[in-house]
Amino acid sequence: MTERIGLFADLHSNLEAFEACITRAEELGVTRMVFLGDLVGYNADPAALIDRIAALVEAKKAIAILGNHDEAVFKDCRTQMNASANAAIEWTKTQLKESHIAFLKNLPLIVNEEKMCFVHASAYNPSDWNYITDSMSAWRCVQNSGKSYTFVGHAHEQALFYQSAVGKLIRFAPHPGDEIPVLQHRQWVGVVGSLGQPRDGNPEACFAVFEPGLEVLTFHRVPYDHFAAADKVRRAGLPEDLANRLITGK
């Protein structure tokens, strides 16, 4: 059976989006999953989300990576985040049990496989949480990962950085559902997009599927009940702007 990897990032305690994406990924025949960090933060279901991901990791169906919001649960990172993000972290802490926090603490910062590298922000100084938004940041990332394929999250918008004829890494905005050939002899950085808090003006949840055997990467967008998710955010007493973000996708 050819391997088909589901890539999910910036899930941010959004259970509705999570379930919709996992269902879709299973329909697409995903053989294993990688959660690229920021499992918690912003939204209303941190405990439920960690439970589900921990079960998948336990069953060896998935691996999970540490993100900056996950780190903020057990480490003081207040100066690095905005007010709403900090408020959400404080609230998240009240929702989690010891076991949840232990799970987050044990997450690796980066995972390297033969041809692939998985990391939340960038393979370049992963613990500094550098965003990959342009050619330079993508180049630094591949220089450090040294792999053909590096998959990241952190920046919430889907993007594919590729090595062009001039060697430079160029940003490409993928179209959901298109199978993009990503041949192994080049270096690629896939920013898979945010599952739990999309910010490109489209409220649909993001994820991606990579098929190493076929050398094909496909970005996906999945509609889900974002009104329900936003409603939960409001009822949890989290900042109003976090609920609105889910509705507008901005």
Partner: protein, 472 residues
């Protein structure tokens, strides 16, 4: 990267008689600088097969591989009767090949080299067919970017096929050649000024190249020669080409207008879609003549100097998404039932058409009417002959459109022969890349007359574009 060591063996893998992924390799039919071509057969594939193998190895330029990768990506995604069908590919790193349909035909380049003199009609037909072929790429968000006589195959029946997508661009895939500025990307005589400036995302570049080819076929000369230097390449950003009519007097003024408009330095001054170019070539009466049509003298020193100043600040026009060309200059079809006697509906359809045409200043209207079939014999009366019947319908269509007061270049009329009008209308919309079909549905139609409900449903279901149903 680790590529070259594996690649070394490519020449050993691809030899006559060997089998790769089920493809039985036949004769080598071509060996070029970038690739070798072999015939092949495979069980289950009933079309002739061509395998394209990149020339890679220590002494080969890296461009050959990027071009190969680009072609693989784009050919795999395209569905067009003007492009060889994609049949499979091998692993890039170990045994790179693309299997495609082996298309009949000779390169247009061969005909040019043999010194063939093309008649005006032949050039017009090749230009119109090229525009149609190119439109089939643009409508799929792809741009060829290397349209030249070498890459155009013509078979015995005159059917065109575009080949070689090694320099092409597809808006939905990463462009491996982006920001590649070295000279030699593209073919010097045929590339557009914006390609010279390094822009690879403008579908109107292909329209420029069609202009160069038509110029060449008409006059036997290249409008800007075959420059080998950057400054030579930049000449097309400002210079006016020698007017074709100054070289070959019999070229009609309208055709000079069309060719020179394709060769405008700024993409925004050319035809904005290949569909539009095809329409003007097929319907010269719709061409608005400007001073381009009248040029007979080579451009003066002063005009060239003015052009050079403009080019000093040459700014390529912003490139719309290839498939969007038709959105700004939409083609609308009004399907008119000439037997219709519902006056209210007639008025409302005219008003709707008028409003839509007003909203898009570059839009065009095609009025069509269908007839079941024309008699195969010629009758005695004018109104019984095939041409008489068609003419009768045309008169009615023109009468219908009269209140719209459209200039001739924005409107045309067609009478389509069809047993099944709905299918024919849909087919016509597809062939012409229409953006909208406008039809009227009368309440006053007696039930016994034609099953129009079925027709309407069929059009709505199968149309390749929006359908606007006018009701009173």
């Amino acid at each position: 990267m680790a590529l070259n060591t594996d690649i070394e063996a490519v020449d050993d893998i691809f030899q006559e008689g060997k089998v790769v992924d089920g493809f039985v390799i036949g004769k080598e039919v071509h060996r070029g600088g970038m690739a070798s071509l072999f015939t092949a057969t495979k069980e289950g594939i009933n079309v002739p097969i061509l395998l394209k193998i990149p020339r890679v190895g220590r002494d080969q330029p890296v461009e050959s591989l990027i071009g190969f990768e680009t072609e693989l990506t784009i050919l795999r995604s395209l569905k067009s009767p003007f492009v060889p069908q994609f049949l499979g590919a091998g692993n890039m790193a170990t045994r790179p090949y693309i299997a495609m349909e082996r298309v009949e035909g000779r390169p247009l380049e061969d005909l040019i080299k043999e010194g063939k003199i093309f008649t005006i009609d032949e050039v017009v037909r090749i230009g119109a067919d090229l525009a149609q072929a190119v439109q089939s790429l643009h409508s799929q968000d792809a741009i060829h970017l290397d349209i030249k006589p070498e890459n155009i195959l013509i078979d015995d029946k005159g059917k065109l096929t575009l080949i070689d997508f090694g320099l092409s661009h597809h808006a939905r895939y990463p462009d491996l050649l982006a920001e590649e500025m070295r000279k030699g990307v593209g073919s010097a005589p045929y590339i557009s000024p914006e390609q010279v400036a390094g822009i690879r995302s403008d579908s109107r570049s292909d329209i420029y190249s069609i202009g160069v080819i038509m110029y060449e076929l008409l006059t036997g000369e290249l409008p800007f020669g075959n420059p080998q230097t950057m400054s030579g390449l930049r000449k097309r950003m400002w210079a006016e080409p020698f007017p074709p009519r100054a070289i070959r007097r019999e070229i009609p003024r309208w055709l000079q207008e069309v060719v020179l408009r394709c060769l405008e330095p700024r993409a925004a001054d050319r035809y904005q879609s290949a569909t539009r170019l095809r329409q003007v070539l097929r319907d010269p009466e719709g061409v608005t003549l400007t001073e381009r049509a009248d040029r007979v003298e080579p451009p003066s020193f002063w005009e060239n100097l003015k052009g050079m100043f403009r080019a000093a600040g040459y700014e390529p026009s912003p490139s719309p998404r290839p498939s969007m060309g038709n959105h700004d200059a939409p083609l609308m079809i009004a399907a008119i039932d000439t037997r219709q006697s519902d006056e209210d509906l007639r008025d409302l359809m005219q008003l709707t058409a008028k409003n839509l045409l007003h909203a898009y200043p570059e839009s065009r209207l095609v009025c069509i009417s269908t007839i079941s079939s024309t008699p195969t014999f010629e009758g005695n009366q004018e109104n019984e002959t095939a041409s008489g019947i068609v003419r009768g319908h045309l008169v009615q269509l023109m009468d219908w459109a009269k209140p719209l007061k459209l200039p001739p270049e924005r409107i045309s009329y067609h009478v389509l022969e069809a047993m099944d009008p709905a299918s024919r209308i849909v087919e016509f919309a597809k062939d012409n890349d229409a953006s909208l079909i406008l039809i009227g549905a009368s309440h006053k139609l007696p039930n016994k007359v034609t099953p129009w409900r079925t027709s309407m449903t069929k059009i709505v279901e199968e149309a390749p574009c929006s359908v606007h149903i006018v009701r009173t």
